[in-house]
Amino acid sequence: MVALSQERLVSSMRTPVRRSPPRTFDHVFRIASLGSALLVLIVLAGILGSMIYGGLPAFREFGFGFITSSVWDVQRDQYGAWVAVIGTLTTALVALVIGVPVSLGIAIFLTQLCPPWLKRPVATTIELLAAVPSIIYGMWGLFVFAPLFARFVQIPVSKLVEGIPIIGTILYASVPSGVGILTAGIILAVMIIPFVASITRDIFDQIPPVLRESAYGIGCTTWEVVRHVLLPQAGVSIIGAIMLGLGRALGETMAVTFVVGNANRLSASLFDPGSTIASRIANEFNEALGLQLNALMALGCILFLVTFIVLVAARLLIARVNAR
């Protein structure tokens, strides 16, 4: 290949009548970009491969029971992922329930309602929020947010709902410490809002203004424009943005470890402590040996799988919406 192109180069130098553009750069560029793309695949395959290899002893030892068992006893080398899986899904769900409406609100405000002079400061602030390291969120969550949350939310709410069926269980804090599944979900919501909000804002910005203007032209209110023009137009892309946020919420480690309460128990209340896959790994990886290390690797595999399933589900959803 190289020889060929060199020959061509030489020949083109000899006959300077009609120079075809040199292809060498084209080739190099193509190979380089292909290499970059392949590199991602190789790294991903490498990580997945080594995780599976590392987790294999645990999967072999416990079989399918590894996922469904809720025991995590390092002293007796018994491991099960159930509590962590449920904790991961619950915290991520809480983050979405809180974070998505707020993000949509931010995006709609910025693109539809915001006076021009305020647009830039608000947008910049939101992007800055995305740049805050997660350990900062964790520390802030534990030292500042948790005490306030305990005092002004957990204690009053627990008093209010005590004795009511279902809600009295879900929102009752037996120990109002401020940390727990709900706190972790709220911190995660704050962390995903900047991502979801700025992508959604870009999506709204890309909708042809003529659609909006015609809607206003026939006398629609702002709400009607948002509800019947913007959201249907942006629909699928918003789901994409949400999935990106969900991906981050599922895998977030440091911030969650600080505020989730780190208990290996399933409890009915959102105020109670729990644990997530990522927090469990962060907590125990340093001092793990033998089967415990394998079990943590296996947890990593499961997190991989959960994230993968979520992304595939999002793709399918988008494909279905598109087909309609």
Partner: protein, 347 residues
Amino acid sequence: MKLLSFAFAAGLTVASFSTAATAAEITGAGATFPFPIYAKWAEAYKKDTNNSLNYQSIGSSGGIRQIRAKTVDFGATDAPLKGEELEKDGFVQFPMVMGGVVAVYNVQGVPSGKLKLTGDILADIFNGKITKWNDARIAKTNEGVTLPEGTITPVYRSDGSGTTSVFTTYLSQVSEPWKSGPGAGASVQWPIGQGGKGNEGVAALVKQVPNAIGYVEYAYAKQNSIPFAQLQNKSGKFVAPEAKTFQAAAAGADWKSAPGYGISLTNQTGDEAWPITAPTFILVPKNPEKPEQVAEALKFFDWSFKNGDQMALELDYVPLPAQVKDAVRATWASDIKDKSGQLVFKK
């Protein structure tokens, strides 16, 4: 034959290296608990000798992994290795400095040092058997102290740590149900309570949650003025955690009873002994591939034994008793040899 001549050559190079007067850099990795004092010693040592120490506090099992992989000159661990493991890996193990673990609490109206607990009560609190501060058993050891009715919230370390290992070792020694239940180790299955990450996480939760009780390293509790409890020791006396009671625990112990000095100082006899005291250990290879590096490391440890006591006390660590230091020096001088059989450490 080839191996022998190689060993001989290696010995020669070693001999020529150790005479070189360049500043050495010692590398070590492991336990996080002694990191502040190792760092302080290293700073003073560098001023004194121009040799420096690069210590990475990556956790005890990380330290064990690194020294097994021979990527560092020494490893450091809070939980001692057992005799057969030392034998298998060819390590020499010795204690370097001690510390204590204390029970910290947040009970309104009970200032630091006023709460008295027995090991048994402590274990039952963390096991979820005693749930209220005004429990009859707690009241019995705390006559004259008004304890509230509140529900006790135990707080534990969620990250695997030597502190948890020491604390649960103690609970296992004093409580049969604890031993057969959660057991002892760097992370155990806590039946109730909340987990905080690191000393700071536990301390934050204990401070925030009324009626909470947790455990942290003594130095951390003292420097952050978190109320801590008195504990009843094996001799039946209530003692407060302080340098004096930690040293009493070390003085009464039979250090030679376990290979590599790998004893636990928890639940020692002695009127003054603090029941949750623990040494932290160093691991070096018995027949090092780089004897000159190990020799440098031992020089640093020797220097720290000689000059480091005051620095340790300032940081609320507890120096080893003099006779233990001497025994450790004797171990270096007899057990660590290079490939040609030469002793690495010279007194």
